[in-house]
Subunit: 204 residues, 2 copies
C-alpha cells in the first residue's frame, strides 16, 4: 500500500478528479474542543495521501479547493462528523457528499451493524483493524501503525460506494439516499451551531 | 370564525395563492394503519376550509393541485407527519413546505416546549384548546367542537410563521431552517418506507 505523507496541505490536486475518499482524525468527538489532526484522502487507486494539520492551522489551499469543487464527489463513512470538522477547521463546506454509513442504513436493512469495519467485512471481505482508532493523532510524528490505520480508512471507500450504489439502485432507493446526502451539510452545521444530539425532525 | 365544510375536496382554489396553512386529522399516528379523515386549510384570513375525506378515497383534484403547486408555500405545524399522510393518501408530495415546529426548535432555544399550543400561547397570546385532539375523526358528522378544533389548528399558522420568520432572520438561521424544510419530503418518505423512529443521520 502506497501512503504519501504531507504536512499542512496536499502538494497538488492532479490525482483528484471526479471523486475522492476522505476521512479525518481529530483529538476527540467534540469539534469545538477537539482539533483536526489528520486528513486522509484516496483517489480510489489503492493509494492514499495522509495530511497532518498543525494546531491553529486554518488554511490549506489545495485541500480547500478540492473540498469546494462541485465536480468532485467526496466519499466519507459517517460524513456528518468529518464534514463538520472540515467546515469548522477551514470554513469550507465539502459538497457534494456521499456517505457509506447512510447508504448502508438504507440498503443493509437486515443488520443494525453499519460500522466501517462491518461493512468492509461483509461487502468486500476485508478485515479492517481498528486498533489505532483511539490514539494521539496530534503527535508530531505519526507511528507506522497510525499511518496505515489512517490510510486504510479511505482505501476502500470507492469500492464500498460502488457496491452500495448497486444495492441502492436495486432497491429503488438511490434518490432517497441522494436527498439524505444533500442534507448532510445542514446536519453538520446544526451540530456545530448547538443542536448536536437532538433530532431536529423529531416530534418531541 | 368562518368555517367552510366540504366533502371529498375543495370546491375551488380561488382563495389559495401564495401560501396555505394545512393540518390533517387521522385515525391515529401510523399512516399505514390509520387513514386520513380530515384536511383543514386556511388562506390566513381568519377563515378555514374543513374537508372530510372518505374511506378509500385516493383522489381530490383541487387539493392535489394545490399541494403540488410549487408557487404555493404549505405551512404546517410538524409538517413531517401531515406530509407523510397526504403523500400516502393522494400520492402527491406537498412542496414547498414550511414547518412551525422546526422553526420553533431553531429559534426558541430557551424552551423545550414546541407544541402548537405552547407556541401560540407565547408568540400570539392565543390559548388553543386541545380537547378534541383525540376524537373520532372518521365520524360521518363532525361535532361543532370537532369542527372548531380542526379549524383552530390552521387559523394561526400564518401569523406564527410571520413571527418565527422574524426570529429566524434576527438570529441568522433562515437558511438553516429552509434547508431543514427542503429535507422534510424525504424525511416523510423514510417514515412511510420503514424508517419511522430511526434518526437516519445518527452514528448508531
Ligand atoms: N458518537 C460517535 N461515536 C463513535 N464514532 C463517532 C461518533 N461520532 C463520530 N464518529 C466517527 O465515526 C467513525 C466511526 O464510524 P463507524 O463506527 O461507523 O465505523 C470514527 O472515525 P474514525 O474511524 O476515522 O476514527 C469517529 O471519528
Ligand atoms: N409521535 C407523536 N406524538 C404526538 N403527536 C404527533 C406525533 N406524531 C405526529 N403527531 C402530530 O403532531 C401534532 C401535535 O403537535 P404538537 O404536539 O407539537 O402540537 C398532532 O396533530 P393534531 O394537533 O392535528 O392532532 C399529531 O397528529
Amino acid at each position: 500500500m502506497t501512503i504519501r505523507l504531507h504536512k499542512g496541505d496536499l502538494p497538488d490536486l492532479s490525482r483528484y478528479t471526479g471523486s475522492v475518499a476522505i476521512d479525518t482524525e481529530t483529538l476527540g468527538l467534540n469539534p469545538h474542543r477537539d482539533r483536526l489532526c489528520v486528513v486522509q484522502l484516496s483517489p480510489g487507486d489503492g493509494t492514499a495521501d495522509v495530511v497532518q494539520i498543525a494546531r491553529g492551522q486554518s488554511e490549506a489551499p489545495n485541500l480547500v479547493r478540492l473540498l469546494a469543487d462541485p465536480d468532485v464527489v467526496k466519499i466519507f463513512h459517517f460524513a456528518r462528523f468529518d464534514v463538520a470538522v472540515l467546515y469548522h477547521a477551514f470554513g469550507v463546506m465539502p459538497e457534494p457528499v456521499w456517505c457509506t454509513k447512510i447508504a448502508s442504513r438504507l440498503v443493509r436493512t437486515y443488520t443494525d451493524r453499519h460500522g466501517l469495519k462491518d461493512i468492509c467485512r461483509e461487502l468486500l471481505n476485508i478485515d479492517l483493524s481498528k486498533q489505532q482508532q483511539s490514539s494521539d493523532w496530534a503527535a508530531e510524528t505519526l507511528s507506522d501503525a497510525q499511518l496505515s490505520y489512517a490510510a486504510s480508512d479511505v482505501l476502500h471507500l470507492h469500492q464500498l460506494r460502488d457496491r452500495l450504489q448497486t444495492m441502492l439502485a436495486r432497491e429503488g432507493r438511490t434518490e432517497m439516499a441522494e436527498a439524505c446526502f444533500r442534507f448532510l451539510p445542514t446536519r453538520a452545521k446544526l451540530d456545530l451551531a448547538g443542536w448536536p444530539e437532538q433530532d431536529i425532525f423529531a416530534h418531541s
